[in-house]
Each structure stands twice: as structure tokens, then as C-alpha cells.
Symmetry: C2
Subunit: 130 residues, 2 copies
């Protein structure tokens, strides 16, 4: 089959920055892709999230636009656009952002955003695809 | 502990674009992070890779810089900077790039870049961290 005859499968390509135009709510991760039982999620954050941890899994944060701070009990990291950090399993952390930040998360399917906390008003529904 | 006294953990933040400055070889994925048993890898590609598939796993491609084409037996996708595509488990594909492209891969630890092919001169060593 030559190139001209091949179907262009444009509809399956995800433009990460454009996906952020599809929602405005914060702290509520949206799924854009699954890799086996792992999910890639996008979320917008502003202000402080409560301290929490995920006892069974690491969690990767990638900043797509803006600046993110993640506090730990013994330190903190500041991430700018194009920077990544993996919070290890079981480590208490508190993400925060002075201005709205757009981030991408990589973690297993089923991870609850508020981790080990009792479900609260910031606990987001899972498996919301955009 | 107030902010001023907290340790800044700069050394654990990964700058994805800067990581690409640490290697020049192509088709040889380098690990930058692990999320449990999943790995985030960076690689540079130019030219054509052989047709292959990964029978046990999906494979996510994210273009960090440049343009990537992935051919399938029944179609193809073209990805530019900031675009993502997940090749489903078992699907034959052929990545290629006219000019050098920088890409990020997300997949389980242990995935061999040439998939189901007999190991060949393009088969890269796994678990090379940068």
C-alpha cells in the first residue's frame, strides 16, 4: 500500500496543549490516554491542595504550562514548563501553584487524587475522559 | 517547618528538553524516570525503523521536538511537537522521521525497542539511565 492510499488517522493523535482547552475546572484530572492499565491525565491547578500520599503507587507530574510547587515534609521542588518529577509511593506531598498551572500526570488507573485522605470536596471522579 | 528552612530538592527535577543534550545516538531509548514498573524514556530518531509490534503492551509516543510519522498496515499518523499517540498492544507499526525527532516513550519496564523481531543491530539495551 503506498502512502497516498493509506488512511490518515488524524483523529487518534492527541495534542496535549489543545486538550487543556476542553475543560476549565481545577484539581479534577481528565484522562487523555491509557497505556495498558496506566493513565495519562491532564489537570489544572491553582492554590493549595491538601497534604496526601498514595500508599500503593508512584505518581509522575509533568508541567505543560506554568509553575508547580510540590512540598514534602522535608523539602520541596519547583517545576516549570517541560519539567518532570516522580513522587514516590507513600511520600506525603502537597502540590500548589500561585498562578494556574497545567500539568500532566502518569499513574495507574484507579488512583484517587486525594490519595489516603477521607473522600472530601476535592476528591475527583476517576475515568473522566476528554 | 517554614519555606525558608525547607531543603530545595532541585536535583530530582527532570528537565525533559535538557535531558536530550546528554546523548546523541539514535533509536536507543534512555530511561529518565520510573513510575512503579513503568518507564519514561527519551530517544532520538531519524530515518526508518523496521516494522515491529509489542505483543504484550501498548506503547505511548510523545513528540518533544520535530515530526514523527508512525505507519500502520492500514494507515499512518503524523505527530508534531506536543502531540501523543498510543500504539495498541500487538499492532504492527513503523516509526520514521525525515529529520531528527526527539520523542518520549511511556511503557512498562523491559520492553524491547524492536519488539517481536529477532534481536538485530537496532535492538537497544534496556535500562540505560541518563
Amino acid at each position: 500500500m503506498n502512502n497516498r492510499k493509506k488512511r490518515v488517522m488524524k483523529n487518534k493523535v492527541l495534542n496535549i496543549k489543545k486538550k487543556f482547552n476542553l475543560f476549565n475546572d481545577r484539581w479534577s484530572p481528565k484522562v487523555i490516554a491509557e497505556i495498558n492499565n496506566y493513565q495519562v491525565k491532564l489537570t489544572k491547578l491553582k492554590g493549595d491542595f491538601p497534604w496526601h500520599s498514595h500508599k500503593d503507587t508512584d505518581e509522575a507530574f509533568i508541567v505543560v504550562e506554568g509553575d508547580l510547587r510540590i512540598d514534602f515534609k522535608d523539602g520541596f521542588v519547583s517545576l516549570s514548563e517541560g519539567e518532570m518529577y516522580v513522587v514516590p509511593k507513600g511520600v506525603e506531598h502537597k502540590p500548589s501553584a500561585v498562578k494556574e498551572v497545567k500539568i500532566m500526570l502518569i499513574e495507574p488507573k484507579g488512583v484517587v487524587n486525594t490519595g489516603d485522605l477521607e473522600p472530601n470536596n476535592l476528591t475527583a471522579k476517576n475515568d473522566i475522559w476528554i
